[in-house]
Point group: C2
Chain length 159, copies 2
Amino acid sequence: MQPGGTNRQVDRGRRVGVDKTDIKQAGLKVTLPRVKILEILEASGKGEGPRHLRAEDVYRRLLERGEEIGLATVYRVLTQFVEAGLVCRHNFEGGQSVFELDRGAHHDHLVCMKCGQVVEFMDEAIESRQEAIAAEHGFTLEDHTLVIHGFCPSCQAPG
Amino acid sequence: MQPGGTNRQVDRGRRVGVDKTDIKQAGLKVTLPRVKILEILEASGKGEGPRHLRAEDVYRRLLERGEEIGLATVYRVLTQFVEAGLVCRHNFEGGQSVFELDRGAHHDHLVCMKCGQVVEFMDEAIESRQEAIAAEHGFTLEDHTLVIHGFCPSCQAPG
DNA sequence: CAAAAAGATGCAAAAGCTTCCCATTTTATT
DNA sequence: AATAAAATGGGAAGCTTTTGCATCTTTTTG
């Protein structure tokens, strides 16, 4: 549910950070696993590795921090966060989902086919054409997925 | 590898049909499983159900036609056909891949979130913006995935 | 056209990701 | 503090997809 939706950040504009309050407002109890997972997501993309993490990555980082949180819990919590609009889930190729904190601003992705680097972008022209296309076909537009696959500057280098 | 590529139909323009010749030209032996799978794909979207089939769907249709072809073979053959440029694979949400005959014309998809109906579309404006975006970020554009999720006309109906 | 070589198939087992079950523990409520 | 409600952890289970390997087909060669 990228465009539209009924969650906080969409109503109040850009989100700057998330905390326990967001968990509570989502109707979820404030538990240690939830707080820690939110911390991991918040740290990602801010110098602490890539912004987009697979459930497995979140799980590993928790272990590294000494938090013994079960993988099943990670999956459950991430799903709940997505439903609450705190987190975005993307299904890139390969059958795995990646998660990132929802900063309130919709964006699409450019993914390097070699190193996996992910670059975000947003293009108004593309966004509005999509609305027009959905309308032309009588569809409502609830969400969309746009991923451009190519080779990033480094991976095009000779050698 | 939707845009570009080195396969027949891209070189010769729109494909009208496929046959054993295509299998041979792909460097694959002309075997019964391959021929039958190609037939299933060709029949799809031409009145015979939806054009986009999961491996499991192809397998089931083969069984219905009395062909005892293993599921593993279906997966193997579909993958080979994709590599040969005869078939396109799309990774819609849900972790499952769907396949369709490559008719040589690139297109994107509109998928109904309720009934799963798939509508194809093609928009030049979106295509060219994507090239511009990839270029802006120094990426080469090898391929892309654009899926618009919404509710089709029937699924928006009251009740 | 038969024999040999190369490649494909089928089945079952294995993988990889994600969800489900349920007894136990934690959080929120009264 | 006691009670009710919800969440967790660990493993089993579910799905889709891939792999290993003996057997069978297709293609090549003589």
